[in-house]
Subunit: 150 residues, 2 copies
DNA sequence: CGGATCAGTTCCTTCAGGGAACTATGTGTT
DNA sequence: AACACATAGTTCCCTGAAGGAACTGATCCG
């Protein structure tokens, strides 16, 4: 980790970073999301060192984002799956993808596309307000102190 | 950074992490978004080391997320502002906040709330499909190879 | 028995982060 | 003129995290 722990700050961004802010963690989450769910597979797919991978998986399981499941008794074999908390965290990945596609994919175009089950079309995520359904971006909101303010 | 650079991977998540994935970067972005825009202010607000803060600001400017603007000639004083690319990156923060509020804020409730200009109510972001407007979460899509695939 | 697979753990080296001190430039104060 | 003060960094040393390769242990295959 990055030495300073963010988990105790009165800031949901900092707390979220405490869970998935470490190097490789979002990519590990992505792999498990798309079905690359075993230690060896993830290690080879990402090229992350085995040491770091073991540390990250342990932390993500402790944080309740992943579950470690034994899918074979003999020989003992394990896979990692997403919890509900982890699945919802994947929303973050979709938004990262959207931004990366727009600003960093260059000539070649986006490396992957997303087929939406709801309409059967290729699309991307848009952010809307939970209350009125209109677009809700950083410029469309005012930040106010909440009940859990410092 | 975390030794291994992610910028060359054929993955928009990895590319986005290359820009914003280093420790402190999302918190620096948040500070600038809410108006904490000068070196001293950010350093004191976050408690980040001056060395790391200088490195991150430099990289975020090089990446086109921030602009360094001189707002006083004598004495020379600077502030950091968001580019369009940077403002759009703040969408990511809104989604992180939403997840952190839901899963990590505990008893006290969310530390901040968001007032939506569009409807004047306190709300949070929801993800919908750009094509049909229906909810679009990680479980609602299939991942397909795109033109820029590896 | 030897070799292969999976899931890690251990070890060593290098480099990034923490933290304090220092620099540079200009302002206001006595 | 001398001094403190503010901003925006830079430099230094020390510690700890990441990279990478080797090693462990359990089990199956031929």
């Amino acid at each position: 980790m990055q030495r300073t722990r963010f988990g105790d700050m009165a800031c949901s961004i900092a707390r979220a970073l405490d869970v998935i802010g470490e190097p490789w963690s979002p990519l590990i989450l992505r792999d498990i999301y798309v079905g690359v769910s075993r230690f060896e597979q993830i290690q080879q797919d990402l090229g992350v060192s085995r040491k770091v991978l073991a540390e990250r998986l342990k932390w993500l399981v402790e944080s309740g984002v992943l579950k470690r499941r034994q899918y074979s008794d003999r020989p003992p074999r394990y896979e990692y799956t997403l919890t509900t908390k982890g699945i919802e965290l994947c929303d973050l990945l979709l938004v990262m993808v959207r931004w990366g596609d727009r600003w960093l994919s260059g000539e070649a175009g986006p490396p992957v596309r997303y087929l939406h089950h709801g309409c059967g079309r290729i699309g991307h995520v848009e952010l809307v307000c939970s209350e009125c359904g209109l677009p809700m971006h950083a410029t469309d909101v005012d930040v106010l102190p909440g009940p859990g303010a410092a």
